[in-house]
């Protein structure tokens, strides 16, 4: 660190030091700010997951001894395996969590291609950076497509739906609920669908903006901007964001789909 503090003005503005002439935490300005942005984004996502934890545990869990065979009911919190059990093109086939698993692997794989692009950037290997950025963008679009299907299936619901009894004008009326919206859903308590929409929606928005950033990085790599600049640090910074999005999905996958 001491070597970066120098009185020679020509040495001050090399790529590594900040304007003060030192390099705090041994990281460039942009990278450190990206880390601080990510930690603040962690708080936002945690707020959603904390809310989920609070609401989830204030509702009864499904217990076969009390409730009998599992069916959708707004008396208890649904089991994720029973809700997310559909795969595109396989109508009526019970495939619990398979589709979510595919989505998880897509995101992990696009994270790997991102880190391969960063690695190629360190070596100033422009064609390889381009190649892996394209794979990462493809993975991002594939994930978004999967999520669009998942949402549309969740909103439309199953053929059976859930029959509920409600008090209308002093009389008990039976009614069948199909699919989900923010006020009611066929899977369980209204809060279940609300949290699904908010948590996966907020994550999906992050994936979408990540894809946009990746496209921008690919464009600037392809036009040779980073090659002329002499380093590929932008790939690294956007890579940090992309890995963060993958990391959030790991937590959403565990807490929303598995537990």
């Amino acid at each position: 660190m001491a070597t970066t503090v120098t009185t020679e003005s020509t040495e001050l503005f090399d790529k590594k030091t900040w304007m003060g002439g030192v390099e705090p935490m041994n990281a460039s300005y942009g990278k450190l700010m990206m880390w601080f942005f990510l930690i603040s984004d962690t708080f936002t996502f945690s707020a959603l997951l904390v809310t989920y934890g609070l609401i989830r545990f204030s509702f009864p869990a499904y217990d076969p001894a009390i409730h009998g065979a599992f069916q959708f009911s707004n008396l208890y919190w649904p089991i994720p395996e029973q809700v997310y059990n559909s795969v595109p093109f396989l109508h009526g086939v019970d495939a619990p969590l398979i589709f979510v698993g595919i989505m998880t692997f897509i995101l992990i794989f696009s994270s790997v291609t991102m880190v391969l692009a960063v690695e190629a950037g360190h070596r100033m290997d422009r064609p390889t950076v381009e190649k892996y950025m394209l794979w990462t963008i493809l993975g991002g679009f594939a994930f978004l497509g999967c999520q669009a299907w998942e949402w549309s299936h969740f909103i439309h619901g199953t053929e059976q739906g859930m029959s509920i009894k409600e008090l209308v004008g002093g009389e008990w009326v039976s009614r069948t609920v199909f699919g989900a919206n923010l006020t009611e859903n066929q899977y369980g308590p209204p809060a279940f669908a609300d949290l699904f929409f908010f948590i996966t929606g907020f994550h999906g928005t992050h994936v979408f903006s990540g894809v946009l950033l990746n496209v921008l990085i690919f464009y600037r790599t392809a036009t040779g901007l980073y090659q002329r600049r002499g380093h590929y640090e932008m790939v690294e910074k956007v890579g940090l964001y992309w890995h963060f999005v993958d990391l959030v999905w790991v937590f959403v996958f565990t807490f929303f789909y598995l537990v």
Partner: protein, 108 residues
């Protein structure tokens, strides 16, 4: 290309060979942990044991993503703690609010 590597510094168009072994190792670890999570989801009865297994495996995955892919493991100690400490407090908040939710359930 490999016999030109020592010219890489001044040739401009030549690049060093790729160092991707560790990246693929981490990919295999992440995939294996996810597969194990799937197996657990369908074989072990739900309860505290299953939940703690899931949480433990999630932390393993988070460690590899943040440590290797995001390179935090190789940063200076100050940066590691700047990221880790706030996250630990968030974990405490999550646990506290889950316990609070259980208490709301008991009072209903």
């Amino acid at each position: 290309m490999s016999d030109h590597n020592h010219h890489a510094d001044h040739a401009g168009t030549e690049v060093a060979p790729a160092q991707t072994k560790r990246i693929w190792q981490v990919f295999i670890i992440l995939s294996a942990v996810t597969t194990v999570e799937f197996i657990i989801a369908f074989t072990i009865k739900s309860g505290y044991f299953k939940t703690s297994l899931f949480v433990g495996l999630t932390i393993v995955k988070a460690f590899y993503i943040v440590g290797e892919f995001m390179h935090l493991k190789h940063e200076v100690k100050g940066l590691i703690w700047a990221i880790l400490l706030p996250t630990l407090f968030v974990c405490w908040l999550l646990l506290a609010m889950m316990l609070e939710g259980g208490s709301i359930f008991n009072l209903r």
